[in-house]
Symmetry: C2
Subunit: 207 residues, 2 copies
């Protein structure tokens, strides 16, 4: 059976997966790009980047993935559903190249983009959204794309098979936390920690 995976989900030391004050100009709020600089420094992202452990992890992003599920807050800044022309923040050829299921209380018609990405919109709880995504993914895995709220909801529902979290050594102080309400979540997993020379730590939860 295919797995439900979270890849490269970055959080601060105090557990925030996004900062406060998200807007069209600040997709991660006051965090800016600080949660993702480790990723931009990899060879996967840019020529001349590092080919070390960060690069090895980041390449699992699309390896064997047949569909993504993302939260409304990842698809756009607050209020995007009032803009009928909003197609996400990734330009005409988004980096997903599979069906992407956007969880929203404001569903709309599917949007076919270049490069194999099609955005579908679902008003559904985690298990139901997952069943739909599984059908689209065939025997490939499902990636949970974030943000923190949707990953937390899927973890609380026991639906996550592989969780890769990247702890970045900054204290954000404000935003949306990943771990809230998940007391004891580690009990169902084998947990590994791998620190990188970039100072981030890769945590993997597998079952």
């Amino acid at each position: 059976m295919s797995l439900v995976r979270v890849q490269n989900f970055s959080i601060s030391l105090d557990g925030y997966g996004t900062g406060a004050g998200q807007s069209a100009d600040a997709h991660f709020g006051h965090a800016g790009d600080r949660l993702h600089q480790w990723m931009f420094a990899t060879r996967y992202w840019a020529a001349g980047g590092s080919g070390g452990v960060d690069d090895a992890f980041v390449r699992r992003f699309d390896d064997g993935i047949g569909a993504e599920i993302m939260g409304a807050g990842k698809f756009g800044h607050p209020g995007w559903h009032e803009d009928p022309d909003w197609k996400g923040a990734w330009g005409p050829n988004p980096p997903f190249h599979t069906p992407v299921f956007v969880l929203t209380h404001h569903p709309r018609e599917s949007i076919e983009m270049e490069g194999g990405t099609t955005f579908h919109f679902l008003d559904a709880p985690p298990a139901e959204a997952l069943a739909t995504a599984r059908q689209a993914a065939g025997d490939r895995d499902i990636r949970l794309g974030g943000g923190p709220t949707m990953i937390r909801d899927f973890l609380a529902a026991g639906l996550v098979d592989h969780l890769h979290v990247v702890v970045v050594p900054i204290v954000l102080g404000r935003g949306v936390r990943l771990w809230d309400g998940l007391e004891g979540v580690e009990k169902d997993y084998r947990v590994e920690a791998t620190s990188s020379p970039s100072a981030v730590t890769h945590l993997t939860f597998t079952r």
Copy 2:
């Protein structure tokens, strides 16, 4: 000049330095001993333990230390100040072997223990307590012993030179958090992360 150091301060993935529900029988509340099992597995702690990276870090506990400052919540469970015979939870020969300054709103007479530990009681803000501890420590360093609230207060006051935090891969969900109110604290430090085969990650903040 001597340094102000935090050594072996363990927190959960969600940042809790102690659990909820502290009592005489549960010094760390519902966390039990889960935040410190990595330490008990070292050779420093018990014969036959591991001599790896956890052991190397844990031995810095008393290396070059001339005094400790601890919070009231470390000296005893809530209400200890109403017990005139309370001398801490470490028996007649506590593991400090230096002067220890307990921050409390209920100061009492100093208590001389076996093995070189003397408990002094101070009702003082961080900078003032530190000045007193420095006099006792001579040219040796001052250890901040915790709990999370006092370490947070000293960090907020800019008084910490070396912070060693051990991130344990459990989600506690409840208790007292270390990082609250410390947005951007990393900016004044060089931060390193070192993961251990035991699955904990050692974070060092040095300046």
